[in-house]
């Protein structure tokens, strides 16, 4: 068993701190893995340590139930959740409209204004 295998085995949660003869054998002859195992043991112990457990006060349930959103608030909440998507869609549509609209020179090229003016002033010749 090499150092890589040893450390992988040590970190396997299924092992849960148990040792095997082959693991012990490697750890007894490898200072680096032995230090790693000690640090990992402390880390696991720290993660298992029970922190101070907070408890709800007598009015917690009352406060939360008073804060439940009504139908109107739910609609507002939904609107707020949809706002970013709505804004993004609006920006995308604006950009699309902007990009698909020809510039002034393009408008002149396709503008029927001159023909219309000629037709209005001179008639169609009939």
């Amino acid at each position: 068993m090499n150092c890589d295998e040893t450390r992988s085995l040590l970190l396997d949660p299924r092992l849960d701190g148990a040792t095997t003869p082959v693991l012990d054998n490697h750890l007894s002859g490898c200072g680096s893995c032995s230090a790693f195992a000690r640090r990992f043991g402390v880390a696991r112990e720290l993660m298992r340590a029970r922190q101070a457990e907070h408890r709800p006060d007598a009015y917690f349930a009352q406060r939360v139930s008073a804060a439940v959103p009504g139908d109107t608030e739910l609609l507002g909440w939904a609107a707020a959740r949809l706002l970013p998507a709505t804004l993004a869609l609006l920006i995308a549509l604006t950009a699309w409209a902007w990009l698909s609209t020809p510039g002034p020179s393009g408008l002149v090229e396709i503008s029927p204004t001159d023909d219309l003016l000629t037709w209005a002033i001179e008639g169609d010749g009939s």
Binding site: L11, P13, R39, E45, A49, H54, P56, F60, R63, P69
Partner: protein, 179 residues
């Protein structure tokens, strides 16, 4: 919070039905049934009372708005555990890396104080997301399957995150105190 596997009691079922019909008094009673468990679970990830209380409040408010998604064939507390864990995870992801999952050095008795301080400092190098997964794996002792069931994540997602978190844990433990 997840030790019991019974279906909802008759009283709990009645409260859930009333909550679905918009009864805030029934909701207050439902909160009273589960508030201790939710606080206990949130306390595993947050040391400050204000954080625990905010997570608990968010858990119950989400429960209120999403109650229609609860299927009564599973224990309500399992569903609530899932909501609470996801609230904890979301809050941890917003926190700065050194903030939460504070390690209570006084609570771990066997290792020497210097080693605890050193390892606690190493653990703070991990991201909150990684520490969340490691906490479930090593702190709670849950398997990949249990984490998937209790968070609502897919097993493959849990496996990927657990693998990544373990790899980072290994790296910081290998770097040791010199880093």
């Amino acid at each position: 919070m997840t030790g019991e596997t019974s279906s909802p009691s008759a009283e709990e079922s009645r409260l859930i039905t009333a909550c679905r019909q918009g009864d805030p008094d029934a909701f207050a009673d439902l909160i009273r049934l589960h508030e201790r468990r939710v606080f206990r679970l949130a306390s595993r990830f947050f040391s400050q009372r204000a954080d625990v209380e905010e997570v608990a409040q968010e858990t119950f408010l989400i429960a209120w708005t999403k109650l229609h998604t609860y299927r009564a064939d599973a224990p309500f507390e399992h569903w609530l555990t899932r909501v609470c864990l996801n609230c904890c995870y979301a809050r941890l992801r917003k926190a700065r890396p050194t903030e939460e999952l504070t390690i209570d050095l006084a609570e771990s008795a066997s290792a020497d104080p210097d080693a605890r301080i050193e390892v606690a400092r190493l653990l703070r190098k991990l991201s909150p997301s990684d520490r969340f997964v490691l906490q479930l794996l090593y702190g709670e002792g849950w398997s990949v399957v249990e984490i998937a069931e209790r968070t609502g994540w897919s097993r493959s997602k849990v496996k990927v995150r657990a693998h990544r978190a373990r790899r980072k844990l290994r790296r910081v433990l290998e770097e040791g105190p010199r880093s």
